[in-house]
Amino acid sequence: MGNDKKAQKRKSSLTRTFGTQEVIVVGVIVILFLFFSLASQSFRRYTTVVTLCNYMYYILLMAIGVTFPLITAGVDLSIGTGIICYSIVGSYVISQMHMPVGVGMVVTMALALLFGFLNGIIIAKLDLPPFIVTLCTMMIVRGLGSILAGGLSGVWPMAGSPGSWCRSIFKINAGGKIIPIGMIWMILLIVIMSFVLRKTRTGRYIIAIGSNKEALRLSGVNVVKWQVAAYLISGFFAGLAAIAYACTFSNITPGTGAGLELDAIGGAIIGGTSMTGGSGSIFGTFLGVLVISLLKTGLPYVGLQANWQQIITGLVLIGAVTMDMTKRHKAAG
């Protein structure tokens, strides 16, 4: 134990504030950024930042949400096909029922929350494995989205059409220059959710579920309630991600979305969320998503297309998981 204390003291203040993994991930981000900038001239343009942001919003939102089930030692696989389903239903309300965009957003959020709640209640009440339950809802929402849209693409307001104000939630055009103001909302949400995770009862109980669910139950805490809360949060953010996706890309193809959840989950894990639950941070998740988004937008610039992105993302994930395991072994020993 004496050695432990010394080791803790020796740690720099940087790693103490942010955690070792987060510092390493920041390093990776810097290296990736430098690498792409040096390797490709076109990467160094401002538009790259805009593209990066476009890709990052919905992945980040999903990732913030899914961090909560992950911390309970669960997972939510339904968010990827979920955001497609929810935004298609939203588009139906807007373009087929001719309702205002705001109503479409409310419907999108309501549906996302409903599925979050369903996931939570099935997992917590019936004590089923989260992986299986959310795998099933993933398939259900994928089918549902296609059926509700009648197989047609969902369309959200384009630039210039009525209701196009929704597009300027995430970027505004200031004198020919596009400014990704969505980042402001992202930072705001990161701060709020970090606060929820670290400073509130909800966050404490969600972390406690991942640490030792049975001990928490035997401490007289209603575990079902807080487990449902974790999936509700995940659903809520899937809803936000659906809106971000719709507002950014306007066109939504039914039946897609499978695999997007893996970008989000991968981001959370790269950011230091433990797959066995009990620890994780929203800021870490943000960094992890930044890595994934950088790879997504950067690799094409150096001539590596989608398949290579998959391979490299996979390798990065293995690295992140290895770090997590080493940490755990050290803690155990």
């Binding site: 134990m1 432990d4 204390k5 400073k199 509130t200 009862r201 909800t202 404490r204 109980y205 972390i207 406690a208 640490s211 030792n212 049975e214 001990a215 928490l216 139950r217 035997l218 401490s219 007289g220 805490v221 209603n222 009990g278 620890s279 803690a331 155990a332």
Partner: protein, 497 residues
């Protein structure tokens, strides 16, 4: 009487904080059943684990068929012909009987497993043992008793010369026990050496030839079964020595009100019609052997496991407890015997563990008041003398005794009035044990009431004001502390229905 097949001499084994085996000698003979008896923790299982290579001995020698041997793992022991049939069976439920018996050494036909030969070999084994089991049956469809027979068949297939049975009858019906004994007698006739670990006196009389009694890591005597009485064996098991001063009389005031009344509690096979009362300021000891149903009773009472029936009255009011949440609200707390699994968030700080039973009290709206949380956590670390560099220490880094204090602290912060301590000092070293005892005495003097489940008789006699003894899910005896002796408790603890 057969000749000696195996001798263990001066076997010594120490675990951190426990001298599990203290220079133990043991002899196993051909064609003989040796009973190995003793209280929980006396060292029987440890000795057998040393014999079969699961544990490494610190010192001592094992001589097998005239040669010194040293097994590094169970596999080596098995290859040499020494096999243990565990209490918990090691069978794979999905596979067939024959697949289980020959697992890891399946007969081959080229690259393929020769199923026909495997089944035929298994059939032959069963014939040898006079058992009728279909080798092609799926293991999980057999009763526990028949699964155990498959274990025995597997042991025989290893050309075992010594078979150790570790409490084989614990999960068996009477008919299955009878069949087991028939098999054991057959094996004895075939000149195998057999060790039979059990708590059950009547079985020892029926099946064994000699008895070796263990207590506190010592071999305290070996005698012929036919020449020793049940009382004789029990007395040796518990010892006549008084280790620590037992409590002379109850400290509970005669007019102390009843704080908890449990009537006709039923929960599965392990809790049958349990009724008792707990008084204010009392330490009520629950004694019994392992598997007597004490933990199950506590968990059913606490709402951790479902119960079929039973009425619970706390401070004169009937309460409906169906979850730990309701139990905590009613003023109950449960300190599990398995602290790491059921008591603590190991990788969280002392502070975070401290307030988990009553977090709303340390919140302002939805927000945790970290200042007050730390304050109360620090207060209890000081009050309970928890040894830790700080309240931010992860509890995984604390010793067993200090972990227990963190758990006690969290229930005190939660303001529980009735505390169920399940094996409060298991895995805790002697010094910390003393502190936990003092703490429990202080708690009852402050008006808390305690139910203490313990398998250590000395602990029961030292701490309890009154003792309930359980056996096979029922309360078989109640003793006031001034009448209680180890022998009396053991008598009730082995009182099968």
């Amino acid at each position: 009487m057969g000749d000696i097949i195996l001798t263990m001499k001066g076997i010594d084994k120490t675990f951190p904080g426990v001298h599990a085996l203290d220079h133990v000698d043991l002899e196993i003979r051909r064609g003989e059943v040796l009973a190995l008896v003793g209280e929980n923790g006396a060292g029987k299982s440890t000795l057998m684990k040393v014999l079969t290579g699961i544990y490494k001995k610190d010192s001592g020698t094992i001589t097998y068929e005239g040669h010194p041997v040293e097994f590094n793992n169970p596999r080596e022991a098995q290859d040499a012909g020494i096999v243990i049939v565990h209490q918990e069976l090691n069978m794979i439920g999905h596979l067939t009987v024959a697949q289980n018996i020959f697992i890891g050494r399946e007969p081959r036909n080229g690259p393929f497993i020769d199923d026909a030969k495997m089944n035929a070999d298994a059939e032959k084994l069963f014939q040898e043992l006079n058992i009728e089991i279909d080798p092609k049956e799926t293991m999980s469809r057999l009763t526990v008793g028949r699964q155990q027979m498959c274990e025995i068949a597997k042991a025989i297939s290893h050309r075992a010369k010594i078979i150790v049975f570790d409490e084989p009858s614990a999960a068996l019906t009477d008919a299955e026990i009878a069949q087991l004994f028939k098999i054991i007698r057959d094996l004895r006739k075939k000149q195998l050496g057999i060790v039979y670990i059990s708590h059950r006196m009547d079985e020892i009389n029926q099946i064994t030839d000699r008895v070796t009694v263990m207590r506190d890591g010592h071999n305290v005597g070996t005698m012929l079964t036919s020449k020793s009485s049940k009382e004789d064996i029990i007395n040796r098991m518990v010892g006549r020595v008084i280790y620590e001063n037992p409590k002379a009389q109850s400290n509970v005031k005669p007019d102390a009100p009843t704080v908890l009344k449990v009537e006709h509690l039923n929960a599965g096979r392990m809790v049958q019609d349990v009724s008792f009362e707990l008084h204010k300021g009392e330490i009520l000891g629950f004694a019994g052997l392992m598997g007597a149903g004490r933990t199950e009773t506590a968990r059913a009472l606490f709402g951790a496991d479902p119960k079929q029936s039973g009425e619970i009255t706390i401070n004169g009011k009937k309460v409906d407890i169906r979850s730990p949440e309701q139990a905590v609200r009613a003023g109950l707390s449960y300190l599990s015997e398995d602290r790491k699994r059921f008591g603590l968030m190991l990788k969280k700080s002392i502070a975070e563990n401290s307030t988990i039973t009553c977090l709303p009290k340390y919140c302002r709206g939805p927000f945790i008041d970290k200042h007050r949380e730390r304050e109360v956590s620090r207060k209890y670390v000081e009050e309970l003398k928890t040894k830790t560099p700080s309240i931010d220490q992860m509890v995984i880094n604390l010793s067993g005794g200090n972990q227990q204090k963190v758990i006690i602290g969290k229930w005190l912060i939660g303001d529980a009035d009735i505390m169920i301590f399940d094996e409060p000092t298991r895995g805790i070293d002697v010094g910390a044990k003393q502190e936990i005892y003092e703490l429990m005495n202080r708690l009852v003097s402050q008006g808390k009431s305690i139910i203490m489940i313990s398998s250590e008789l000395t602990e029961i006699l030292r701490m309890s004001d009154r003792i309930l003894v359980m056996c096979e899910g029922r309360i078989t005896g109640e003793l006031d502390i001034k009448d209680a002796t180890q022998t009396k408790i053991m008598y009730f603890a082995t009182q099968r229905a």
